[in-house]
Symmetry: C2
Subunit: 349 residues, 2 copies
Amino acid sequence: MTTIALDALGGDLGLDATVEGAAALSREPSDIRVMLVGDARRISERLAKVSYDPTRLEIVDADGCVRMDEDPRRALEEKPRCSVLTAAGLVADGDADALVSAGNTGATILASAIRFQRLPGIRRAALAAVYPTEQRHGPKKDPFALMLDVGATLQAEDVDLVGFAVMGAAYSSIISEIVAPRIALLSNGTEPNKGTDAIKAAHKRLIGGPLNFVGNVEGLDIPRGTVDVIVCDGFLGNVVLKMLEGVSEVFRDIAKQASGRKLQWKMGLAMLGGGLKRLRRMTDWKAYGGAPLLGMDHVIIKAHGRSEARAIRNAIKVAAKAAEGDLIGRIEQGVGALGLAEAESRSAE
Amino acid sequence: MTTIALDALGGDLGLDATVEGAAALSREPSDIRVMLVGDARRISERLAKVSYDPTRLEIVDADGCVRMDEDPRRALEEKPRCSVLTAAGLVADGDADALVSAGNTGATILASAIRFQRLPGIRRAALAAVYPTEQRHGPKKDPFALMLDVGATLQAEDVDLVGFAVMGAAYSSIISEIVAPRIALLSNGTEPNKGTDAIKAAHKRLIGGPLNFVGNVEGLDIPRGTVDVIVCDGFLGNVVLKMLEGVSEVFRDIAKQASGRKLQWKMGLAMLGGGLKRLRRMTDWKAYGGAPLLGMDHVIIKAHGRSEARAIRNAIKVAAKAAEGDLIGRIEQGVGALGLAEAESRSAE
């Protein structure tokens, strides 16, 4: 059994998404148990309206939650028993194997920093996101690749980028089941001398090392999906990821406008069924289950704030898979192979 | 009459694109005259195969050109009479009003730096690109917005970003005929305190000033086209622009694969005609004519290396419009209004 602590109050849709997602998962065959963390009375009421397997769901009471628009630091100080801190505490205490939250991103990161330990050799945390690509990845032929950091560490130094590469490789190898994921730095050209100072220095540290580092990739390679893991700083990753989201929105808008307008369009869309579905799936990365927050000594999955039940269910499954695949152990191995922990302790002397 | 000096040998397609593009334009009613700069014999031979208006085309001989894969600095040193340097010289000497090249980007930037003067108050040059957006812009309802820098200045300081804002506003006001283009900084959030140090400082310099500065925009706003001009450093702009190009490629690939496969698909595509055309146009920014290189005392348009005749023709028209609209004068006005030249001379003391 793998146990997931779910922040049941986080996310734009609150209990409607979290309780339904967890309940749906409990009805499927799996070894996953979910602790629904939040206002016990409200969770019970919501659960009474859906069917679920009571042996695989548990309610853990918490007091309050961090709203999406609240200042995370102040909110966590004022509400020490809120859902995300309580859920993180269950993981830290060994009652659960991983944390899942669709709530305020800053609060999830901060709650993790409070309850968990930073992994030795990893100076800065990274939020990684899967995004849709044209090319397939790994033995499961996943239609997505991984990018990190997408928002935890705005300005990253070379050693931080190397840490991201280690963590991205570990996560990709578990989730996409790729033995040696192809890792690249995102830059303004493929040549090793292209990029910011941090990128050029990270390139030197990664080339010829234990990871399957294939060099720099460009913006073109993002949608193509030339590599399995793209490494960049959180500022660039944030802009790129939100831009992909924007492209997806625009695509949906145009399709919606067009299909609402004409019978001819509706017929055309029906005929194009398969191809459009492929395009749509490529832009529907919310299906892929959320972004891991990497760099701590426990598995943390941040689901999208707008997650519906299906996205919550997928985030729980991804969290369980990462925990079962020993994500933390694999990151520690990578840190060891690259000598990051020794480098850190030397620089601390 | 507006005269454009065209680097006839630059670009992947060479004379096939440049001579045909210039010839096509000469057959249309306009006040534009083109100087085709390159190997005079080869240009004449190529011209003999197309129809054109000889009163609006002139050949200027040059010796050699910079290939796309050459090191720009070395190539320009070794070939001082090459097409791009000769064309830039014609503009510097007042024989032509603007330079257009589809050749090696580095060579175009370097040739401009050699032949032209940097504008006082503008510390760093910027390459600006128009890209397709969902929202329309200005009285002409242009389906594109402007982004700069996309590759001339990799790491920009706050004053550089302010200079880019001034130049982008001037260019957008001429090309899209917008009286006060909406300018924004690209960041990881809309709040003034979001972004890198350079972005936060540039925000302070721009807010409440003479430009129509609307604050920060996020990645989501790029495809939506929320503003008319997006300002960022050349590293970020390069990644974003190439990514848009990649998205466009992927879209075309999928449509092509699908339409080649099934009769049903072909019928569906035919029925969707208008809507798909809109999607395709949105991703076909090469139609918009090339990227201005801003910061020098003359108009320079860098056309895409893969430009075909139509793209060359559009680049020439854009260059003429920028020259006729007094792009340089408008940038100087903006520099004056923001006090950039005074700031520069103070910091030089």
